[in-house]
């Protein structure tokens, strides 16, 4: 055994942290860059879609608020009354074994005004004197 072989080997810092191969380092750099780019694009796309959908939601809300300006509650009530008449007709047709006669839904005030105006106009058309209110009779009996 020579003297040189007996000397302890000195391992410096460069040996411990070996520098990788240049090709591998380049590939790693490209992969890291691509991954970062992908994450950034994902986040940008997410933010863009979030902004678009939030904007759409706000626009829908604004559109609804705009639609709610017209008509007023009186006209809205007449539409709702029409829907209630439809609903009652459908419900009573399904439950035809009812033991009592139905009660008509109360009329909205605007509809009463329309009824009175139309009644008066009908009477004008018939040439008779207008009456203040519709007659109080019930539906005539079946034959």
């Amino acid at each position: 055994m020579t003297e040189a072989e007996q000397e302890p080997r000195v391992t410096d810092e460069k040996t411990l942290f070996a520098v990788p191969h240049t090709g591998m380092a380049l590939a790693g750099l490209i992969i890291r860059t691509m991954a970062r780019l992908w994450v950034v694009c994902l986040l940008l796309a997410g933010a863009a879609f979030a902004g678009i959908t939030l904007n759409q939601m706000m626009q829908r809300q604004a559109q609804l608020n705009e639609l709610r300006k017209e008509p007023g509650p009186d006209a809205y009530a007449v539409v709702a009354y029409q829907r209630e008449l439809e609903r009652q007709i459908r419900a009573y047709n399904q439950n035809w074994r009812s033991e009592s006669v139905p009660t008509p839904p109360p009329r909205p005030r605007l509809l009463e005004d329309i009824d009175l105006a139309r009644l008066r106009n009908r009477e004008i058309g018939q040439g008779s004197a207008p009456s203040a209110a519709p007659s109080d009779g019930a539906i005539s009996a079946p034959p």
């Binding site: 997410g46 939601m57 017209e70 509650p73 029409q82 079946p142």
Partner: protein, 243 residues
């Protein structure tokens, strides 16, 4: 006994004199430990931001396109209740607005014709068209008459059935006293049937009188029906009411 100065950095003599390589770990190079920590925090930040974006997207889409209906809330358009999603609510409101458009103007025109004592040819789809209020009222009145006729038929049918039973029983009875009692019952039932037919013909049973839908009571301020005072039940619908 070795001299203390020979013990370099506390290495024992036996190690110093060995032929093995001596590796002294002095920690990672400067900045080596910071990188993984920074990367982890960065990744968490990206993920948090991405999650916030996804939540915002999901919330917005759900708010607009929610297909559900609130069955406890009356809807003037949908039978299954008020829609929850903004898109459906817009559809509902557009339908309401389309149906009610020009209703006040229609009333004003009819009133103007009345003042001028002219026969009005004015119409409004909500009132005069097919499935309008007038048509539905006719259907409602017909339905009421039909229900009433069925009730009378049922009552008369029950009396007829009882009469048939009594007549069959009378044919089997030999006892004159019992026959006289059955005859009395038959006469009573016959009279009851005649009275029922009279009530049906003259519509004299107040419990079975059909009030025409056009003559129903008018809504008051205290009426709780959703079509009477919609501004009380759902003020949101008229938040920005036009002046």
């Amino acid at each position: 006994m070795p001299d203390p100065e020979d013990n370099i950095s506390g290495l024992p003599e036996v190690v110093r004199n060995s032929n093995r390589p001596i590796i002294i770990y002095q920690g990672p190079p400067p900045g080596q430990l910071d990188a993984p920590t920074t990367n982890a925090v960065g990744l968490l930040s990206w993920l948090t931001l991405l999650t916030i974006c996804l939540v915002a997207i999901a919330l917005s889409v759900w708010t607009v396109w929610n297909p559900g209906h609130d069955q406890t809330q009356f809807s003037p358009i949908y039978a299954q209740g008020q829609p929850v999603g903004l898109a459906k609510r817009i559809e509902e409101r557009q339908e309401v607005n389309a149906r009610a458009e020009g209703l006040l103007e229609y009333l004003e025109r009819v009133r103007a014709d009345n003042l001028g004592r002219r026969r009005s040819g004015e119409t409004h789809p909500l009132i005069t068209d097919r499935d309008g209020v007038e048509d539905l009222r006719s259907q409602w009145d017909a339905m009421c008459r039909s229900i009433r006729a069925r009730i009378y038929d049922r009552r008369i049918g029950q009396i007829d059935a009882r009469l048939s039973e009594l007549r069959a029983y009378r044919r089997q009875v030999a006892d004159p006293v019992e026959r006289a009692r059955v005859d009395g019952d038959l006469a009573g039932l016959t009279e009851q049937r005649r009275a029922e037919l009279d009530r049906r013909r003259t519509d004299s049973d107040p419990a079975l009188r059909c009030v025409p839908a056009a003559q129903a009571p008018v809504c008051s301020d205290a009426s709780a029906e959703p079509w009477c005072n919609p501004q009380h039940g759902r003020p949101d619908e008229f938040r920005a009411e036009a002046s």
